[in-house]
Symmetry: C2
Subunit: 438 residues, 2 copies
């Protein structure tokens, strides 16, 4: 009699935990649908080359990669982007632009397990392809903000820290044309996680003199869009800087028009760790600071479709991870209810199955969650079970009641009982309860 | 500029294909919920030993198995049962019985790709644990039948062929105590797929004399529950036969009470290929015969939880595969609509973004699917896009209209237009259309 354990970093979702995840998923997806994002789904396994061809990516060391029975080098997907890039490239001609897609699915990375981080983790990816306009960036911000609001979070609970890769890049190049921009941006991404000396060291390693590194970091302290002129005043000849500042302002202005301005804060030090971002980027943070690290992030990645074999295609997206989002909901006291709910339990006493089954069927036809006895149990055992599944109403179908053409309705919260004519139950009522017959 | 292809036997679901799968999934899950099945979710990757420890199973050759970075022998799950058995065993004490779980997820098998069969395939598993009563079997049949009915299929479209493993086993042993029951049952499972000579050969290989094989097969021709007495009359001393016949009759009687008797046909030759079934089993077939092979199946497997390390626990379940079910829906002409639908497109002309955004936001707050321009496009390009996403109503927010405090509503089906006061749109209306203002 062997026993098996699940793998480390993987989770079993029993009904209570699944009810929470279901509510988070449904809310994210419902908001995405209302914005006109369309659901897609994608293979869980892909050619490993989609990741390994790009050398130097940390992700490669974390792949669940292997050789399949046909000798193909394959991997469980660690992220969605290469797959949607592949799908977009395959049908770019016939797709109506902009393409707006969402999907919820697990991804896998072999990495250290910690609170809110697992080796198998769920994300809802929401992306716009084919628009370089600031309204596309703002629509992604608005979709994410509305989803968090629908989950019960307010502006006191979360903030989107918005930055811009081209501002960072232009500024860096204005200091030193030979600076390693990607390394410097990775340093900015780490600035909140390491002490100042280490941060400045990292910028120095990327090619900035220490004085310049300090100056650069000072400039990143601008936190009011009106003050972004300080940057262009500082480096008036920096190629692309004025355009980037203008673009970030337009993104924030569009987010204002879209009704989510209160959730967006200018925060140039929010750089996003991944190399592939190209324009506006943002990260969602716990506004109280209790959860120190980023909950999720998103941004513009205009070069990636082309890298994966497509025509040059602007793109912007966001990918809330359900586990870190769950931590934020818990911190804010608005985590979805993990309680199992049941509208009716139809309790059989004696040989009443045909009538009990008819009633259960009629109630289900009205869309209700209805259970009945499938274990040949006693009255008391059935009532205990009805209690364990939080049944709201128990319909007792007993031989004696039936002899009087009645059933008994028991309100489980109060314990109150009353009878109802069996032929009129549920009858014309959509959701009959104790109160309808008391 | 590399291009990548998806793996053979894996599918990309673009929005139209996904809309179909979503409808099938939602219907199956909605019916399961109404019957009080609770959603769970499970790791996609499991210790490979959960399958390889049971030698001789065909499934082992089809595993996507490999060694992870930690040296664990792991596999993508080819089926759900060992996983739910593991989960049930881990919490058997605290779970309220019967345990009724469902989940929708992909599974993976490296096998030949054919119509309706893929290497990555989706199933909705629906199981009852902890009841050996015929009502549990019947509830699984009723849930499956109601789901197919909700998908638009009628009794003319599908039938559940119901058999019983213990009837087959008892009968076989009554012919010859040394017969290889599992091999003989596998032969029965193949009887419709091979010619008679081959079928009789297989029974012979399992240990039945040819005459006995023919006699056995004749007995399996019983197709009316009332005639099941022929079996007990034939082998009155066969151990377990009378009980098995009684159990099958009770399952069918309960299915009648549960309102799905018309979908259930006695068909002893329906044996199910898998070894682990122990009692009533069934397969869903296309009633017209156009699709020759089984669409999906289910049945009782009372020994499996124990085999996977749990206490002895009766269990019964069904697992509709979405791809073969989709073929049946297509054959019956009731496949879900693959068309993208959009309630409103809010079209901007000139500098009207704040008002257009406000209207889009108000309509989304009412739950509608609403798109607006995120690509800075012309009137004509926006109208073409609105048409491509099948927008029902286009709300034209133009500078001139706004000067008159109006917006224009265009009904896309008729092309009719009218104006509405901008301050009253959408106002108190839940789903305003052309007709409300014409």
């Amino acid at each position: 009699m062997p026993t098996y354990d699940r793998l480390k970093g993987f989770r079993d979702f029993y009904p209570p935990e699944m009810a929470v995840r279901r509510e988070v998923t449904d809310t994210l997806e419902s908001v995405a649908r209302r914005y006109g994002f369309r659901e897609i789904d994608t293979p869980r396994l892909e050619p490993a080359e989609m990741w390994t061809d790009k050398s130097g990516d940390d992700i490669v060391d974390e792949l669940y990669a292997f050789e399949d029975h046909g000798g193909r080098h394959v991997t469980l997907s660690p992220e969605l982007t290469p797959t949607v890039a592949r799908m977009y490239a395959a049908k770019a001609q016939e797709l109506s632009k902009p393409v707006k897609w969402f999907s919820t699915r697990p991804f896998w990375r072999y990495e250290a397990v910690q609170q809110g981080r697992f080796r198998e983790f769920y994300q809802t990816n929401i992306d716009v392809f084919g628009s370089a306009e600031p309204e596309a960036d703002a629509e992604v911000l608005a979709t994410a903000a509305d989803a968090l609001t629908d989950l019960g979070l307010s502006a006191d609970d979360f903030e989107f820290r918005v930055s811009h890769r081209d501002i960072l890049g232009s500024l860096l190049r204005s200091f030193d044309a030979d600076v390693d921009v990607r390394a410097a941006i990775r340093a900015v991404d780490k600035s909140e996680k390491v002490d100042e000396a280490e941060y400045l060291d990292l910028l120095h390693d990327a090619g900035l003199e220490f004085d310049r590194a300090r100056e650069f970091d000072d400039l990143l302290g601008v936190d009011d869009p009106a003050d972004l002129d300080e940057l262009t005043d500082f480096a008036p000849n920096s190629e692309g800087l004025a355009d980037a500042v203008g673009n970030l302002r337009e993104v924030l202005a569009a987010a204002d028009d879209f009704g989510v301005g209160e959730h967006c804060d200018l925060s140039l030090r929010t750089a996003r760790g991944l190399d592939y971002y190209t324009g506006a980027v943002f990260e969602c943070f716990d506004a109280t600071g209790e959860i120190g690290r980023s909950v999720f992030g998103g941004g513009r990645y205009d070069d990636l479709i082309e890298e994966f074999g497509g025509q040059p295609t602007p793109a912007v997206g966001v990918a809330p991870g359900h586990a870190p989002l769950g931590l934020l909901l818990e911190r804010a006291g608005v985590a979805p209810d993990a309680t199992i709910e049941t509208d009716y339990y139809v309790l059989q006493v004696g040989d009443t199955r045909p009538t009990a089954a008819r009633i259960a069927r009629d109630l289900r036809a009205r869309g209700h969650v209805v259970e009945s006895d499938v274990s040949d149990r006693s009255f008391g055992a059935q009532l205990n079970y009805a209690d364990s599944i939080n049944a709201e109403t128990v319909v007792i179908v007993g031989e004696q009641d039936l002899a009087n053409d009645e059933v008994t309705l028991k309100d489980m919260a109060s314990g109150d009982q009353t009878t109802a004519p069996v032929d009129e139950f549920p009858g014309g009522l959509d959701r009959p309860t104790f109160d309808d017959f008391a």
